[in-house]
């Protein structure tokens, strides 16, 4: 598979570069003709590869665009990052996990010229890639494990989350990824997976508040679905037009409700009845259950009736089927509901009736297409659509560089900031179409570019010229996202449990948070944390109660998952510092890291080097080593004076203290590990 993927990606990039060197027909005149139209509403055209002076710098087409701009600005690209930093950077950006020391060693020992490309391929093939990529998508999908409003009961839709991971790992082309989620249920002979995928549109918050009016909430859900589709695929703030014509973008209120009409016939009640999986919902076996089901069915075929074996297998089958998890899906009513413009966005003030349709500023629907979600989904991924590809590649860019080429990745409308590199954006968009919406190929193209491989060091001159690195004269540098910070800590501690999928888990959380906001009769009124392996799963499996989201993740800027978010802010607060210093999860991770470090053996210096290398992927400088050794010594002295304190520290978290013979030393190393986990360098991409 590695080889296959590498070939495909290489082909894509080679073809692209060749194509662009040869220049696709570029219709400058046509481009000039519709210059009056906002750039994002014009279909992207393949731009010519720009001429550059430093022709030995570019590694792929991306670099020509970046370099051309730098040369215009009189800037030079930074030197490449050292290989260890690059390995860390690639692993974190593609999988959300650090390279293991062994991976790092193997990469550093690999003299082949394409060692880095092969590392990237391995990362793209690792299941952790799908988990990490899914986490961004789940922010956009506003995925949560509760209904979100009022009672905020638990909801079962995690099979959708697992579908996203699987689809991304399988590299399902983005056009199909889109169609399945928006209209999988409408595909002829829809498979279970295609129906599970439609959970995307059931992730909206819903209510069952006593006294709430179902029609009001049905209208609200439809508006939410249109707004989400607008942000994720169109990069447009359609929501404004729910109440009035859009003030800035060419979207009238009527057009908005034409979009709503696509979503207005969902066979749902409006109130969720506090059910685990309010209809429409289906039961789907997990992979394990599916395998077991097949086995039982073949047993059934051969089991003898007389011995009662058949009855026994049947009973097992029924029990197994009953245990299949529910997941919420889309299904439309057989007779569609009428859709009206809602005056002022109010469900009880219907204006004129509208039919499903798309905004006039965008390409029309094919005349013969039925006016349903399937047609809408296919329209979004039509190669002529100006927005979908641009908006999607921009999010890929944002993932790897911290900021999109269009900074406002949620808004490509007339009020958005223009892209920093318009031609590059269009290049990537057309390349994305050209390679068949191949997400992994696009990730690979970005992270193997010379642009991505630059050192992230910021000289005073660059800081003055371009503090936000919009010109890309240096590599990416930004604070890691909440989930990544927790996951890398778990990885370094050796505690991370790398299982894929399954019901959400409940790791450590301070007491009383759910109780403080919940109805006592809510199914999520009380938080009972898990024990054992479930404590150490990746953060995207953490149970998401929307009225009280995971607190440590929140303090590190995770959204609440009540609405679609495609761009997180990154804050720098004292409360976030307190999480990393004091959260049981991080203290326990420090314990794990300390244990792992000491098991390496060798001198104290060797061990300090090992721990430092773990979190930074580099050797400490002499000055750093001195500070760390001095700290370790202070910690040791303090715990020698107070061995009880050492024992207390080692009691934090469920991790047992097997093999620890000397509390004082173990506690001192725990503090040193905690120090390392709190380094700015540790929690940054760089």
């Amino acid at each position: 598979m590695h080889a296959d993927l590498a070939r495909r990606c290489n082909n894509t990039v080679r073809v692209l570069t060749a194509v662009w060197l040869a220049a696709l027909p570029v219709c400058q005149d046509a481009a000039a003709a519709d210059a009056a139209v906002h750039w994002a509403f014009r279909a992207p055209r393949a731009p010519r590869l720009p001429r550059v002076q430093a022709r030995d710098w570019p590694r792929n087409a991306i670099d020509y665009f970046v370099l051309a701009r730098l040369e215009v600005e009189g800037l030079r690209p930074s030197s490449p990052a050292d290989r260890a930093t690059l390995a860390r950077r690639a692993a974190i950006t593609l999988t959300g996990l650090p390279p293991s020391p062994a991976q790092l060693r193997a990469f550093l020992a690999d003299p082949a010229p394409d060692a880095y490309e092969r590392l990237v391929d391995r990362l793209l093939e690792s299941p952790a890639y799908g988990e990490h990529a899914a986490r961004y998508w789940l922010d956009a999908a506003r995925y949560g494990d509760t209904h979100g409003l009022q009672m905020d009961n638990m909801r079962s839709i995690w099979p959708y989350r697992d579908w996203v991971i699987q689809a991304l790992n399988d590299n399902l082309p983005f056009d199909r990824f889109t169609v399945w989620q928006l209209a999988g249920d409408l595909l002829p002979g829809a498979t279970a997976a295609q129906r599970v995928a439609t959970g995307f549109q059931r992730c909206n918050v819903s209510t069952n508040e006593n006294g709430a009016i179902p029609a009001e909430f049905r209208a609200r859900y439809a508006i939410d679905r249109v707004s989400t589709m607008g942000t994720v695929w169109l990069g447009l703030t359609t929501g404004c037009a729910a109440c009035h014509d859009h003030k800035y973008d060419p979207l009238s209120q009527t057009e908005f409700y034409r979009l709503v009409a696509f979503y207005n016939s969902v066979a749902e009640k409006g109130l969720n009845e506090d059910a685990l999986a309010p209809p429409p919902a289906i039961k789907v076996p997990t992979r394990l259950q599916e395998a077991k089901h097949r086995r039982l069915q073949s047993l059934l075929a051969t089991a003898s009736e007389e011995t009662g074996a058949k009855r026994d297998v049947l009973r097992q089958l029924r029990r197994l089927e009953a245990a299949f998890p529910w997941t919420m899906v889309m299904r439309d009513l057989s007779r569609p509901r009428d859709t009206h413009v809602l005056l002022g966005g109010r469900y009880d003030r219907p204006g004129r009736q509208v039919e499903p349709g798309v905004p006039a500023v965008l390409p029309p629907l094919p005349p013969e297409a039925p006016r349903n979600r399937l047609a809408l989904a296919r329209w979004l991924v039509d190669p002529a659509h100006p927005l979908t590809a641009r908006v999607t590649v921009n999010r890929i860019w944002q993932q790897h560089f911290g900021t999109g080429l269009v900074r406002t990745s949620e808004d490509f409308g007339t009020r958005s900031q223009p892209p920093s590199h318009p031609a590059l954006l269009d290049f990537l968009a057309t390349a994305f179409l050209h390679c068949g919406w191949d997400l992994k190929a696009m990730h690979r193209a970005v992270v193997t570019s010379a642009t991505f491989r630059q050192s992230s060091r910021c000289t005073p001159r660059l800081r003055e010229r371009d503090p936000a690195n919009r010109l890309l004269a240096r590599g990416p540098r930004f604070r890691l996202d909440a989930e990544v910070i927790r996951d890398v800590a778990l990885a370094w501690s050796g505690l991370l449990v790398g299982e894929l999928g399954g019901p959400s888990v409940r790791p450590y959380q301070p007491a009383g948070l759910w109780e403080a906001v919940s109805y006592p009769s809510s199914s999520t009124a009380h938080y009972r944390r898990d024990r054992g392996r479930a404590l150490y799963r990746r953060s995207l499996y953490t149970f998401w109660k929307r009225t009280a989201p995971p607190p440590a993740l929140q303090l590190l800027d995770a959204p609440t998952r009540e609405t679609c978010v495609v761009r997180r802010l990154r804050s720098n607060t004292p409360t976030a510092a307190l999480v990393l210093l004091n959260d049981v999860q991080f203290v326990e991770a420090a314990r794990g890291m300390a244990r792992r470090t000491r098991r390496q053996g060798g001198s104290t210096q060797d061990q300090v080097r090992f721990a430092f290398l773990l979190v930074t992927a580099r050797d400490p400088t002499a000055a750093e080593l001195e500070i760390l050794l001095d700290l370790l010594d202070r910690y040791r002295q303090a715990y020698r004076r107070d061995p009880t304190a050492a024992a207390q520290l080692l009691d934090v978290g469920d991790l047992d203290s097997d093999g620890v013979r000397d509390d004082v030393i173990a506690a001192a190393w725990t503090m040193l590990a905690s120090t390392l986990l709190n380094l700015a360098e540790t929690i940054h991409q760089h």
Binding site: L149, Q150, D152, V205, T207, E209, N210, G211, A212, I213, R220, T231, T237, K247, D249, T403, R407, T408, D411, G413, R457, C458, L462, R463, P467, A468, P510, A516, V517, S518, Y519, P520, P549, Q554, D557, T560, L569, R570, S571, N572, T573, P574, T575, A577, L578, V579, L581, N582, L628, Y635, A638, D642, T644, A645, L649, A667, L679, A680, E681, H686
Partner: protein
């Protein structure tokens, strides 16, 4: 790099007592996403209009207290006990589905006595004897109205100006607009209280003090009465303050080296944030400990004040936070949703809040803080004049009523001793001077020196406001 180092040293040397405001630090705090910060964020730090209040204490009665039993007397209704509320009054307005199906809408006059209090002669129910003693400090606004008819949308609307989740809360707007006034406490603090009526009470949500699309640092920080007063505030067992100090010193030195190597100014910010966290660890537990409060102050708030997490304890904590210049303090108490057994449950809830609310106002006054602190008291909507469920002489329930309800304002910028606005003879519709939630929020911001039309944040290509495209400052409420 040199500047950062100086700054770092300064923080090390000045990390002691409460109340030191370092402008440099405030500047640092604002610098997230260096180089990309929206310029509006900087502009918003200066008030738009002369501020009358420096901060807000918002006492939030979640569930919707009955205005008709507390502040908006309708003695004329006593004669109409159990009479049908005229259709002409309801005017076909929508009801919740809890009472929309009722065959009758019988008038349920309040069974509580009202009297006039203070020089202003404000009408206040017998359920609030303590509050009545500070009547002359209050502006009683009887004509607040809202768009939403059920709890979740209504509380979200009141807190964020939108019924649909996703917008920043009032407190986070204030934090965004005014910035921090102290360097060791959160700008926006949230306190949740225990209550006495049915425990099956309306839920709250983190979104009510969340930031929507504003930077996360403007989020309300919940101060808790169990465990650490702020999440993750306490050092882990076995880590002494001295050891933490050693660690942070070492950490700062390492980060300093990284700052020099990477040239990333956010590293300097991070060093400062760790110092701020260290100071918070000392400052917040000190605030939550009432040992230094004199007896007569504790007595003022009543016996509940000794119970952490009681409304009384939270009111005293609110005053202490106000003293340290926390900008926005919101005290939540649930349990005001009285669809049935209203007389019993309302009395219980009033007992929770009456003495403490009055004490807070008096205490702020005697500390000289009331002039610069805006106090707000109220819930997300009011309750119907007609009965929900069975009506008897002594017992009744009331459904949600968004068309008129009462909120109280006091302190900074507010004209004291007035009753504002008039409802109709049934207490069902507004007869005179409506105050929409957007108007209320515009007025609150105005008292703080913020123009609700200019306090904007660009998101998704649009300048968002707390008041959307609505809202008027209610000038007659201002002193």
């Amino acid at each position: 790099m040199h500047a950062a180092e100086r700054l770092w040293r300064r923080h090390f040397l000045s990390r002691t007592t409460l109340g030191i405001g370092t402008a440099a630090l405030a500047g640092l705090l604002d610098r997230e996403n260096p180089g990309t910060a929206a310029p509006t964020a900087q502009r918003a730090q200066r008030p738009h209009v002369p501020p009358r209040a420096r901060r807000v204490i918002y006492l939030f009665m979640s569930g919707g207290p009955s205005q008709i039993d507390l502040f908006d007397p309708k003695p004329n209704l006593l004669e109409r006990f159990d009479e049908e509320l005229p259709e002409s009054v309801r005017m076909g307005q929508r009801l919740t589905t809890m009472t929309a199906g009722q065959r009758r809408f019988p008038i349920a006059p309040s069974r509580f006595r009202f009297a006039q209090h203070g020089q202003s002669g404000a009408w206040i129910s017998e359920l609030l004897p303590h509050l009545s003693t500070v009547a002359d400090e209050l502006a009683i606004v009887r004509t607040v109205h809202t768009d939403a008819i059920n709890h979740d949308p209504a509380i979200t609307f009141l807190q964020t100006g939108s019924q649909v989740p996703g917008r920043p809360s009032l407190g986070s707007w204030v934090s965004y607009g005014l910035g921090s006034a102290n360097d060791q406490l959160p700008t926006f603090a949230v306190l949740q209280s225990r209550w006495s009526a049915s425990l099956e009470a309306q839920a709250l949500s983190a979104r009510l003090w969340g930031t929507g699309f504003l930077p996360t640092r403007h989020a309300g920080v919940a101060l808790r009465s169990e465990g650490a007063p702020v999440l993750y505030l306490a050092d882990p067992p076995g880590v002494s303050r001295a050891l933490r100090r050693d660690m942070l010193d070492g950490l700062a030195r390492l980060n300093q080296l990284h700052l020099a190597d990477s040239g990333d100014p956010s590293v300097a910010d991070r060093i400062a944030q760790y110092e701020l966290a260290f100071r918070m660890q000392d400052a917040i537990p000190q605030l939550a400990n009432f040992a230094d409060e004199p007896r007569h102050i504790l007595d003022l708030y009543g016996p509940d004040v000794q119970q952490p997490g009681s409304f009384a304890a939270n009111c005293l904590l609110a005053r202490r936070l106000a003293q340290h210049d926390v900008r926005f303090i919101q005290v939540f108490i649930r349990g005001w949703d009285h669809h049935a057994d209203l007389p019993r449950d309302l009395a219980l809830q009033c007992r929770d809040v009456d003495q403490a609310t009055a004490a807070l106002i008096r205490d702020l006054r005697q500390h000289g803080l009331l002039e610069e602190t805006l106090v707000v008291w109220g819930g997300e909507f009011g309750r119907t004049t007609y009965c929900q469920g069975k009506l008897t002489a002594g017992d009744y329930g009331r459904d949600h009523h968004p068309r008129c309800f009462t909120m109280l304002l006091a302190g900074g910028g507010i004209r004291p001793g007035i009753s504002y606005g008039q409802t109709d003879e049934f207490g069902y519709n507004i007869a005179d001077r409506p105050v929409h939630i957007h108007d209320l929020n515009a007025t609150i911001l105005h008292c703080l020196g913020l123009d609700h039309r200019r306090l904007v944040f660009r998101f998704q290509g649009r300048d968002f406001r707390l008041t959307d495209v609505h809202g008027h400052v209610v000038r007659e409420l201002l002193s």
